[in-house]
Subunit: 388 residues, 2 copies
C-alpha cells in the first residue's frame, strides 16, 4: 500500500553501509572531512547563538547572506553576480533535487558522466526523468565523444562534478569549453555539482558558469568548511542565463514542493561571516601524496587525483565487490565503485587522519601480496582462508 | 522549457507576501514566534559549537537524539517508543513531504480538513496525489460528516493539524477517536501535523498516534522552541503501526529522493539537550485573551482559540481579501483565509509582542467603525477613500 519505489530505495542496504558495519582497523569509506571546522566558523556560531535570532529567512535565503555569496563568487571567479541569482539550500543534495525539480518535465533525459556520485540517478529518477550514463574513460576525463552521440532534443540537463567524486579528477578549461559548445547547440542546462571546488591541489578548477550561460551551480559548504551534517549550500545561476528570473521562480516553486522552507538560518549567517575562509587542504594533499605514491610503488594502478579527497584504484580481481570484501577481511574498509558507474575499481576516501593513512599502507601491501601469490586461476576460497 | 508547475508555484505572489510588503503599524501576518529561544537551547548551541562535531548523522538522525525524542514522547503521552520509529527531519514541512512521498502512489487521494495550512495542497499535489478538502464547520471542529461521505478505497491518507493553523482550535479526544474509527475501516494513514502541540492554553491536546495505529506524527521545534528558521523536527510512527518497519524504509527512500541527507546535526543534538523544555506560552495566552476579548467587545465574530497563536475573525464584508486590504490601508496587516480553504475570514497571528497587540486594538476599532458607518449597500470606493 505504501510507495514501492521509496520502500525499495530505503531498504536496499548499500555496499558502503554493509562494509561500514564490519570491524576494521582503517575505515576509508566515508567522505566525512577530518579537517577541523575553521575557528572563524566556530566563533561565528557562538556569536550568532548568543544573538538568538532563529526566525525564518526568505525562502531564497537571507538577503545579506546571498550578497555575501555573490561577493565570494566575484572574488574567486570574477563573475558579476546579484543576490537574485542565488538560492540558499540545505547542502548540495537539496540544491540538486531542487534544480532538477525546477527544470525537468516527465520524459526528459538527464546525462551523467561516469564515474559519478550514486545518488545522482536517485535524484534524476525522483523527478520522473531518465538518467543516461556516459561511460567512464580510462583517465576519467569527460567523455565528450559519448556525449555527442547521446545528446538530443530530449536532453534537459547534463550533470558535471569536478573535482570528481569518486575519481578526484578536475576537468580542464578545454574540456569545460568543449562541453559548453556541445550543450549550446541544444540549449540544455548544465548542472554543476561543486562541493569539492575548493579542494584542488595543483590544477585550477574552472567555474563552469563562466563558460556556459545555462549553468546552475550547486554548492555545499560540507567539505570546504567541514560541515557535512549541517546542510548548508546554494544554487547560483549563471549571470549570463537569459531566462534567469523564470528559472529562479521555478526553483522557488520546487523548493516549496519538496518541503524546504529555508536553509538553516544560523548556518546561513555563519557561512556569510566566513566569506573568504578557504579550507585547510594540506592534510588531504599530504594524504593523497603518501597514499598514491605508496600504492603505485606496490603495483596498484590508479589515476592520480587532482582534487576532492578520493582515489580510485583498480581492483586486483574483476569483481571489485569481492575485492572490497577481501580488503575488509584484513581490516581495511574501501568502497567498490560499481554503484558509481565504473566497475572494477575501489574508491578510497583519504579525508581521514594521516595516521590512518599510514596504518592503511601495510594493509594494502598485505592485500596486494595475497593477490600476487595466488595461482593463475583465482582460488577465492583459499584466498579468503589466507586473508582471515 | 522549464517545469511550468514549479514556475507557477514560485511566481505566484501570495497575498501574505503582497500585504507584508506594505508599510504598516502592526504586522499580524506571520507565524514567527516572538517568545525568545529558551536559554537552555542557547547554552546547548554554544556548547556544541565549541565541541565542533559537524559530521553527518545517520539518515534517520543521530541515534541518541532519537532516543531522547522517544523519552520525551513517553513522558508527555505515555507511548512506548523505540528509536527505530523516529526519523529526524528539517522541520514539519519536510516531515510532511517525506511522509507523503513514502506512502502515496500516483492517483491516490489525500483528505484535508478546512481550514488548513495552504502548503498542504502543494505537498499533496507535489507527490502526484489529489487533495480533497472537507469544508470548514462554523466552530472549526472536525467535519466528520464530510469525511464519512468522502473517504473511499482511494484515500491513502488524512491530514489533521491540532492545535490548528489558522483557527487555533484543538480537536477533542472524542473527535480524534471518531476520526480513528472511520479511518480504521479503510486502513488509511493519518498524518498528524503537530507543530503547535505544545502551545495550548486550557484544553488538553490528544496525541492522535495513541488513538490510531496507522499514524505518522509530524513534529517541528519551530514554534515550541522559537526556532522556525533552523528547520528541525521529526516523523514518529505510532508504536502500534503493524508495518512500521516497511513504512520507515519508505520514509528513508523518500528522504533520499527529495535530497535530505540528514537533519541539521547541531540542532538535532541541541534539541536533545532540551528534552523537557516546554515553551513559554504565557505571552501568547495573554495576547489571545486581550485580543479575543477586545475584538468580541467591539462586535467582531470569532471562535476563541484553544491553542497555536492564531485567531480567525469573520470579515466585515463578504470579500475577505478586500477586507484585509482595507485593514492594511490603516496600517494593520492580517491575512485573508481564502487560501486556507475558508472564505470570509481573516487570520491574525498573535505571536507578536503584547505591545503590538495593544497597538492593534484601536486600529481594529477604526476598521470596525468604518464598516459600521457605511450605508446598507457597500460603497467600497468611498470606504477606501475614508480609510486612506
Amino acid at each position: 500500500m505504501i510507495n514501492k519505489t521509496m520502500f525499495e530505495l530505503g531498504s536496499t542496504q548499500s555496499i558502503i553501509r554493509e562494509l561500514h558495519e564490519q570491524k576494521c582497523e582503517v575505515d576509508l569509506t566515508i567522505g566525512n572531512p577530518s579537517a577541523p571546522t575553521p575557528s572563524a566558523l566556530t566563533e561565528a556560531l557562538i556569536e550568532l547563538a548568543k544573538e538568538g535570532d532563529h526566525s525564518y529567512t526568505q525562502d531564497m535565503g537571507d538577503a545579506t547572506v546571498r550578497e555575501s555569496v555573490c561577493r565570494s563568487l566575484k572574488n574567486r571567479f570574477g563573475v558579476e553576480m546579484t543576490k537574485e541569482l542565488v538560492y540558499m539550500t540545505c547542502g548540495a543534495a537539496s540544491a540538486l533535487t531542487i534544480s532538477l525539480k525546477a527544470i525537468v518535465n516527465a520524459g526528459d533525459e538527464v546525462i551523467i558522466f561516469a564515474p559519478y556520485f550514486p545518488e545522482y540517478t536517485v535524484y534524476v529518477e525522483g523527478v520522473g526523468a531518465t538518467a543516461r550514463i556516459m561511460p567512464a574513460k580510462e583517465d576519467f576525463s569527460l567523455n565528450l565523444e559519448a556525449l555527442r552521440a547521446s545528446i538530443s532534443s530530449k536532453t534537459k540537463a547534463v550533470i558535471v562534478n569536478s573535482p570528481n567524486n569518486p575519481s578526484g579528477v578536475v576537468y580542464s578549461e578545454e574540456e569545460i569549453a568543449s562541453l559548453a559548445a556541445i550543450l549550446r547547440s541544444y540549449g540544455a542546462f548544465l548542472i554543476s555539482d561543486e562541493p569539492y571546488r575548493e579542494i584542488a591541489y595543483e590544477k585550477p578548477v574552472p567555474y563552469p558558469a563562466k563558460f556556459y550561460q545555462n549553468t546552475l551551480t550547486c554548492y555545499s559548504y560540507s567539505k570546504s568548511l567541514s560541515l557535512p551534517g549541517e546542510r548548508i549550500g546554494y544554487i547560483a545561476l549563471s549571470p549570463d542565463m537569459p531566462n534567469a528570473s523564470e528559472v529562479m521562480c521555478a526553483i522557488k516553486g520546487a523548493g516549496r514542493t519538496l518541503g524546504y522552507i529555508c536553509a538553516p538560518a544560523l548556518f546561513q549567517k555563519a557561512i556569510a561571516k566566513c566569506e573568504d575562509v578557504m579550507p585547510f587542504i594540506d592534510l588531504y594533499k599530504k594524504n593523497r601524496d603518501t597514499l598514491y605514491d605508496a600504492l603505485s610503488a606496490m603495483g596498484y594502478e590508479a589515476v592520480r587525483p587532482d582534487g576532492a579527497f578520493y582515489l580510485m584504484v583498480k581492483s586486483l580481481e574483476e569483481d571489485s565487490v569481492a575485492f572490497a570484501k577481501n580488503a575488509a577481511r584484513i581490516g581495511l574498509l574501501v568502497v567498490p565503485t560499481d554503484d558509481f558507474g565504473a566497475k572494477g575499481y575501489i574508491r578510497i576516501a583519504y579525508c581521514v587522519s594521516h595516521e590512518d593513512i599510514l596504518k592503511s599502507i601495510p594493509l594494502f601491501q598485505k592485500l596486494y601480496d595475497a593477490y600476487s601469490s595466488r595461482s593463475e586461476k583465482i582460488n577465492l576460497d583459499k584466498l579468503r582462508l589466507r586473508l582471515r
